[in-house]
């Protein structure tokens, strides 16, 4: 019994050590790649170049005039789905950006992580299919009218829930950090 436990501990420690070392070696490059991917999605959603430095507070960045970028995770059918969203809230005339009148809320979503089978359920990947880009800049109510879809992880329920939760998180964020032009 003691021999078995010692052997298992040794094997576990060796595996853990290897993973720890590899994580240390690759962490910088992985972070850089993920940041570049996130910036590409942000620029695509915003349809304009981004500032060099972006400040994130609780996975939310931006302002009420420009819109808020938000990283969000929702439970899908058999695992988490990671979203990247641009939420542009309702703005009355006195708060709207210069030259614009009132703006209705708009939400654009991109899925950054899923477990769909390539070639089968990856319609949710904006690089392979226009399914999500076609739904850009819809209101939360419009997102709730989504047609039924399902995949290994992606479901219409998860997307609808994500839209609602993103709205709630932004409301909480704007209460905490009020809109200032």
């Amino acid at each position: 019994m003691f021999k078995t436990l010692t052997a298992l501990t040794l094997i576990g420690a060796a595996c853990g050590l290897l993973l720890f070392a590899m994580n240390d070696i690759t962490r910088g490059d992985i972070e850089k790649n993920r940041t570049q991917k996130a910036r590409a999605i942000m620029a695509e959603l915003l349809k304009q170049p981004l500032a060099d430095k972006i400040l994130w507070v609780e996975d939310i960045s931006g302002s009420c005039q420009l819109g808020y970028f938000i990283k969000h995770a929702e439970n899908g059918y058999s695992g988490p789905i990671n979203f990247f969203a641009l939420y542009q809230p309702n703005l009355p005339a006195d708060e709207a950006p210069r030259g614009e009148t009132t703006r209705q809320e708009q939400l654009s979503l991109r899925v950054t992580r899923h477990q769909e089978t390539p070639g089968i359920g990856d319609f949710i990947n904006h690089k392979r299919d226009s399914y999500l880009p076609d739904l850009d800049q819809q209101s939360i109510a419009q997102w709730q009218n989504l047609d039924n879809i399902t995949g290994a992880t992606i479901t219409h329920r998860a997307i609808k829930k994500a839209a609602l939760n993103i709205q709630t998180r932004i409301r909480y964020h704007t209460e905490k950090y009020p809109c200032v032009e």
């Binding site: 052997a7 298992l8 595996c15 290897l18 070696i25 991917k37 070639g119």
Partner: protein
């Protein structure tokens, strides 16, 4: 002995066409040479790492918990492969990530660990891993080349995802329009893999036909003799 281990893993007991193992990633990822090569390298790395480690630790791995130990070791090397790909070949990683992650459940790797690496010295385990990985790579690349050629009319497309900017010039356009677009989709994968396996089977049967027939006759005769002795 080592040459036998290598050729047995690569050709005679090829994981794809002889044992029909690892078919899920084989069919899913072999839609281009670049994807196939990426998966072949990752699978080969995991197989080599797992076989070597398991053989080195075979005397301390408790027999009652050997399978969890094998899975832990295979999962460790799979995670290392995922990290390396995500760090240094990110675009390729985003295309085949799911199939890199499920290398951990690939029966080919667990099978070699249980049947060979856990019972043999490290040298033979390494040669066996290299042979099996080469066999899997041959099947992946052959299927990948045929599918890319028929489905896109090209060869070596998107190689820059794997080897960097130098690979951008490697693309060969053989047909201006794809002769069989179905080839890059899952049904095309099933059809072409079936034809490929059948062709290999026919080829190996032709080569070893008379010998195999004699062996079968001999075995049948021995079995019949044994039956007669048992039930006179």
């Amino acid at each position: 002995m080592s040459n036998n281990d290598f050729s047995r893993g690569a050709i005679e007991n090829n994981p794809a066409w002889a044992q029909l193992l690892g078919l899920c990633p084989l069919l899913a990822v072999s839609n281009s040479i670049a994807n196939a090569l990426g998966l072949a390298l990752a699978s080969g790395f995991v197989l080599l790492g797992a076989n070597t480690s398991i053989s080195l630790m075979r005397k301390i791995i408790p027999d009652v918990a050997r399978l969890p130990c094998f899975v832990l070791i295979i999962a460790t090397f799979t995670t290392v492969a995922v990290m390396v790909l995500e760090a240094y070949a990110f675009d390729l990683y985003t295309r085949i990530a799911l199939f890199i992650q499920i290398i951990v459940t690939n029966c080919m790797i667990l099978g070699r660990a249980e049947a060979f690496a856990s019972r043999q010295p490290v040298g033979r385990a390494i040669v066996d891993a290299l042979g099996t990985a080469t066999g899997f790579a041959i099947a992946l690349l052959a299927l990948g080349a045929v599918r890319e050629l028929l489905g896109n009319g090209t060869l070596f497309n998107d190689m820059e995802l794997l080897v960097g900017s130098i690979g951008a010039d490697w693309q060969l356009t053989i047909f201006t329009s794809a002769p069989l677009p179905l080839a890059v989709y899952p049904p095309g994968a099933f059809l072409l893999a079936g034809l490929f396996f059948a062709a290999v089977k026919a080829l190996t049967a032709t080569q070893s036909g008379p010998t195999a027939k004699k062996e079968v006759e001999k075995e049948t005769g021995t079995a019949n003799d044994a039956m007669r002795k048992a039930n006179p």
